[in-house]
């Protein structure tokens, strides 16, 4: 527990040093706040915008798109990888699709997405699903095929096959890989959703953080541009250090599949 507290403290120290260096450098070298506002100005702008309800609303919209896309991506991942480990045809389909679509940038699909789904949340979700599905599927599949032979035989010895075998043996045994896949998916989803929102502009009546950043650059509110970026960073830090850390403690660390931190 003490080691854990010290580790948390070390992380807070890193963030503090970065913020102080940012503040100091912008003041020391008299950087124009239109190009690079000091940390204090950005935090003030962020605070104002949080009180107005602007940033929380934009962030909620981005998160809504992101989480819907990740849920769809996870369901498709489960379906594709389960088929791949139980049938030869499924493996051929997954391996081919992954090698075809994984290198394809999500942004490149946006013109098509607009044609198919129109200017709305559906279009955004489509490109984000594309960006999270392939890395998650690849990781999960790697996890499935690297399950130790003995564990597979144990499952078969219990008489398990098909879905019960996947759910009872392969999924938990591959969980460290699956979790890594979800983390990568989470990061890819943010990149894509912010980029896509910048291109899409306002999707219906809802706009996300990407739009907020883009719009404020247009109006030369550089402090708000930074506030938007900082919001993405803060959400990332919170989710990584609380949500993902909590899942790891309850699963892979408890099971001795990963070392505790």
């Amino acid at each position: 527990m003490r080691a854990q507290a010290r580790w948390r403290l070390a992380k807070i120290a890193v963030v503090t040093v970065l913020v102080v260096a940012w503040e100091g450098a912008t003041r020391l070298f008299h950087v124009s706040p239109l190009l690079f506002p000091p940390a204090s100005a950005v935090l003030r702008a962020l605070g104002r915008s949080v009180i107005d309800g602007d940033v929380p609303g934009y962030a909620a919209q981005s998160l809504r798109v992101l989480l819907s896309a990740m849920a769809i991506g996870a369901a498709l991942t489960l379906f594709l990888t389960s088929a791949a480990v139980t049938t030869k045809a499924g493996a051929a389909v997954l391996e081919t699709l992954t090698s075809m679509f994984n290198p394809l940038p999500a942004i490149a699909l946006m013109p098509l997405s607009l044609l198919w789904f129109g200017l709305g949340t559906g279009s955004l979700i489509f490109v984000v699903v594309h960006s999270v599905l392939w890395p998650m599927a690849l990781n999960t599949y790697t996890g499935f095929v690297t399950v130790p032979v003995t564990l597979r035989k144990v499952g078969q010895n219990f008489g398990l096959s098909g879905w019960p075998y996947v759910a009872g043996i392969l999924l938990p045994a591959a969980f460290p890989h699956i979790l890594a896949g979800v983390k990568i998916g989470w990061a890819f989803a943010w990149r894509t959703v912010i980029a896509a929102e910048m291109v899409f502009g306002v999707a219906g009546s809802h706009a996300g953080l990407g739009w907020f950043i883009y719009q404020n650059r247009f109006e030369m509110n550089t402090d708000l541009v930074f506030a938007g970026l900082v919001t993405v960073v803060i959400i990332g830090l919170l989710v990584e250090n609380f949500f993902f850390r909590w899942i790891e403690r309850e699963t892979v660390v408890r099971w001795g599949m990963s070392t505790a931190r």
Binding site: K153, N157, F158, G159, T251, G256
Partner: protein
């Protein structure tokens, strides 16, 4: 006693880039209900491969394997396996969970019944104080005890053990051998036990089948009058007989 498991003229092969490799060549044997049958032979004689085939993990290239007169088709809980590897326990389940889970999926017990039955077998191997521990918190010997409890709890027709004590230190190995004999007295399960140790073969087996290596062929079967004995004149005599048979 009636034959429980029969192996008839079985040949087992592995696919290799340079062609099929024969691991076991034309082996026949039969195991009687309630006996402790040992497959003994040097490393690479195909004894583990033969056990894998009986468990249903590998199909014979020729010949037939029958349990209760019916051909063996694929793995199943009526032939519960204890492996050599310590990673045979499910790391995400507790000791109790590892024993209870197969009872739910293979014997279709409900949660409460499965837990009660599992606890009975965890007690039998002396690990009740570790019932809620996870496998990574156990020593190698304890892991093998859990694996034995799990296999016995399935109440299989035959228990298949593939060098379960080979990775243990000698003190732990001796203790587990003694405990296994005591457990088998109580459970009255038919046992097939694979080992490359003469000592272990003579201690455990009612009958000992001696295999030669590459490819594995039957040298002979020895009726063991010294079963359950470790350092007696009788056990030394059987040990000599086994070694002579192996040397040919």
């Amino acid at each position: 006693m009636a034959d429980l498991l029969r192996v008839r003229d079985v040949t087992l092969e592995y696919e290799r880039p340079e062609g099929a490799f024969v691991a076991v060549d034309g082996v026949s044997l039969s195991i009687r209900e309630g006996e402790r049958f040992v497959l003994f032979g040097p490393s690479g004689c195909g004894k583990s491969t033969l056990l894998q085939a009986m468990a249903g993990f590998q199909e014979p290239a020729r010949g037939a394997i029958e349990l209760d007169g019916r051909p063996v088709q694929g793995p199943g809980p009526d032939r519960a396996v204890v492996f050599q590897e310590f990673d045979q326990l499910l790391p995400w389940r507790t000791v109790l969970g590892n024993v209870a889970y197969p009872l739910r999926v293979a014997r279709r017990l409900r949660d409460g019944e499965a837990d009660a039955e599992a606890l009975r077998f965890v007690r039998l191997v002396g690990l009740e104080s570790f019932a809620s521990a996870h496998p990574h918190q156990l020593s190698g010997g304890m892991k093998q005890r859990v694996a034995i409890a799990r296999a016995l709890a399935l109440s299989p027709r035959i228990l298949l053990m593939d060098e379960p004590f080979a990775s243990l230190d000698s003190i732990t190995r001796h203790k587990l051998q003694e405990d296994l004999l005591a457990l088998l007295q109580k459970a009255r399960t038919t046992l097939l036990f694979v080992t490359h140790s003469v000592e272990e073969a003579v201690l455990i087996g009612d009958r000992i089948l001696v295999l030669t290596s590459s490819p594995g062929k039957v040298r002979g079967v020895i009726e063991n009058a010294a079963s359950g004995q470790r350092h007696t004149a009788a056990s030394a005599q059987v040990r000599r007989a086994v070694e002579e048979l192996l040397a040919g």
